[in-house]
């Protein structure tokens, strides 16, 4: 016997079956007979019916949206809002195919992605550990929290002039604004997660011999992960909002700049193209975070 708990009394050899019988729970399932592909497909369908339904309805509603858009623009409807200059879906599609062959458009997108990547990563790398430490050590919390509370309500866009003064290059100030936008949601949610850690789990760890560092790593951190990921998701959304605003105001490249420039150059189809690109990029990045969350928190995926 290798267990330390059991090793103390090796001479004691009461049959283990008594416990196992009393437990009686793990009835080992007999090997299932082979099933045909048809049965499997049917079972898969039954299990995923709700999901399939949602997907089907989702596709239909997107198509309906496109159709309404198409009708509103072809007939140039004016009813409170004016669709006279709004590009039709087909026009946007045309400018999309053109843009795909235009290295400049791809560069706009790449640059925006790079800014998001740097700004958001910095926010996560600083915000998460800071939140964890503030949640654990009262003094750090007492020192930093008031400053954070004062700065937090200032929208990242309001930082644009200040950022331009602070940073030598335009690029840096845009990244800084993206960073600010995502930093506070990440910090606040991490703090929130830390405040909700079940004290019983901490006690359980303590009477299993865990010291401060292990408790931090094995209890506080994983217990806060769901809220950390909420923070990352919200932070990513705000990062895009802040980035686009900064690019529209002070950029020379980037998808926000592209959209604003299209307006100045009276290329209406490109406006819609820019907007859709921003939407797709935002959606994609939050999907990435959700995927990362599922990888890091396997106990939460059902």
């Amino acid at each position: 016997m290798s267990s330390p708990a059991l090793a103390r009394h090796p001479e004691d050899s009461m049959p283990a079956t008594a416990v196992a019988e009393a437990g009686s729970a793990p009835a080992v399932t007999p090997p299932a007979p082979p099933v045909s592909f048809g049965t499997l497909a049917l079972r898969w369908y039954r299990l995923n019916r709700a999901g399939l339904r949602a997907t089907a309805i989702g596709i239909i509603s997107l198509l309906a949206f496109l159709l309404v858009w198409h009708l509103l623009t072809t007939y140039r409807v004016v009813f409170f809002v004016r669709f006279t200059n709004v590009p039709s879906p087909l026009a946007v599609y045309a400018s999309f195919t053109k843009a795909m062959h235009d290295p400049k458009f791809l560069m706009h997108i790449l640059l925006s992605c790079r800014r998001i990547f740097i700004g958001f990563s910095l926010a996560a790398i600083i915000g998460v550990p800071l939140g964890l430490i503030m949640g654990r050590f009262k003094l750090v919390h007492e020192i930093i929290f008031p400053v954070a509370e004062v700065l937090r309500p200032i929208p990242a866009i309001a930082w644009v002039p200040m950022a331009i003064m602070l940073w030598p290059t335009n690029e840096q100030s845009i990244v800084f604004i993206t960073f600010l936008g995502s930093f506070f949601p990440i910090l606040v949610n991490t703090l929130h997660g830390m405040s909700l850690v079940d004290p019983v789990l901490v006690r359980a760890a303590q009477c299993l011999g865990a010291r401060e560092r292990s408790i931090f790593r094995e209890v506080y951190f994983p217990a806060s992960l769901p809220h950390i990921f909420t923070g990352l998701t919200v932070g990513m959304g705000v990062a895009w909002v802040s980035l686009i605003a900064a690019e529209m105001i002070s950029g020379q490249y980037g998808i926000g700049y592209f959209t604003w420039e299209a307006y100045s150059l009276v290329q209406y189809a490109d406006i819609a193209l820019g907007m859709i690109a921003i939407g797709v990029l935002g959606l994609g990045s939050s999907l990435l975070i959700r995927g990362a969350g599922q990888l890091v928190m396997p106990w939460r995926s059902t």
Binding site: M1, S2, S3, P4, A5, L6, A7, R8, H9, D12, M14, A16, A18, V19, A20, E21, A22, G23, S24, A25, P26, V28, D198, V200, L201, R203, A204, A205, Q206, C207, L208, G209, A210, R211, S214, E218, V219, P222, A223, L225, M297, P298, W299
Partner: protein, 290 residues
């Protein structure tokens, strides 16, 4: 009793002149006063008492989570001053780490001790096998039934080979059938590992069925009202619960507890200014009805 390891010197719990008051805004709340208890090495001792009498408080002090206001808690002569892996604890609330699989939960204490991975995996498997849980080692706690969670909790607390095991109403949330099974599993593991157990419960049958000795506490502020040895022989069978010996013990304990519960409830009721209740009960006093 030949099962009793009279020779082992490990796991001797001593609580002497113990009292504990919680500091609150209204001043100190005396939870436990003037209490002496002890658990001999390898002994199974239960604490019963009315709700709110300070059972958890006492147990948490033995675990090292609370400091006594007066008195001392010692285990094998060493003063308790903080939680440690020497004193395993099972909580009333499920307290498995949700982010760890069943086996990782059981391994936790060994990991904290620095045992290499392969070794602790083997140890955890052996222990899980003892509790009939080997098929669930890769499950996350969320997917387990309440009984299984508590079984894993017990196994986890035992994995580091503690001198004493402290349990705070561990089966309180389980249904009657599961409870019986859990009691058998606990007895079984206790007998194999020969450690001292201090077990808090409000279930009198459970206390008698499991214990060598039962302490009965008074209403708050709690102290020891009575100490009842349970001379029933081991191994204990479910059928013993019908024996006249068992029933006599049960009657005795029951009346002790009832007295204290009434005191506790009487206190609460007059606290709330509800003595008027007696009138609405058509002249029967609350005591008669209860």
């Amino acid at each position: 009793m030949s099962e009793m390891p009279a020779n082992t010197s490990k796991g001797h719990i001593e609580v002497r002149n113990f009292s504990l008051a919680y500091e609150t805004i209204e001043g100190p709340v005396q939870a436990v006063t003037d209490t002496q208890i002890h658990v001999k090495p390898g002994e199974f001792v239960s604490i019963v008492g009315p709700s709110g009498c300070g059972k958890s408080t006492l147990l948490n002090a033995v675990a090292g989570f609370l400091k006594p206001t007066t008195g001392v808690v010692t285990v094998d002569g060493e003063r308790v001053n903080g939680p440690s892996a020497e004193r395993g604890m099972v909580f009333q609330q499920y307290s498995l780490f949700p982010w760890k699989t069943v086996r990782e939960n059981v391994e936790f204490g060994l990991k904290m001790r620095g045992m290499p991975r392969s070794q602790r995996e083997r140890a955890a498997r052996t222990l899980l096998g003892l509790a009939g849980l080997e098929a669930f080692e890769k499950h996350y706690p969320e997917k387990l039934s309440g009984g299984m969670k508590q079984r894993v909790g017990i196994v986890r607390a035992l994995a580091t080979g503690p001198k004493v095991l402290l349990l705070d109403e561990p089966f309180g949330a389980l249904d009657a059938q599961t409870r019986v099974i859990m009691q058998q599993i606990l007895t079984n593991m206790w007998q194999r590992l020969k450690i001292s157990v201090l077990f808090v419960t409000h279930d009198i049958d459970e206390a008698i069925f499991l214990s060598d000795r039962v302490y009965c506490m008074t209403a708050r502020p709690g102290s020891i009202k009575a100490e009842i040895p349970i001379p029933l022989e081991r191994p204990r069978q479910q059928s013993m619960m019908m024996s006249s010996e068992f029933l006599a013990l049960r009657r005795g304990l029951m009346s002790l507890i009832r007295e204290e519960s009434l005191k506790a409830m009487g206190g609460e009721i007059s606290d709330l200014g509800m003595q008027g209740l007696n009138i609405e009960l058509h002249g029967h006093s609350l005591v008669e009805i209860l």
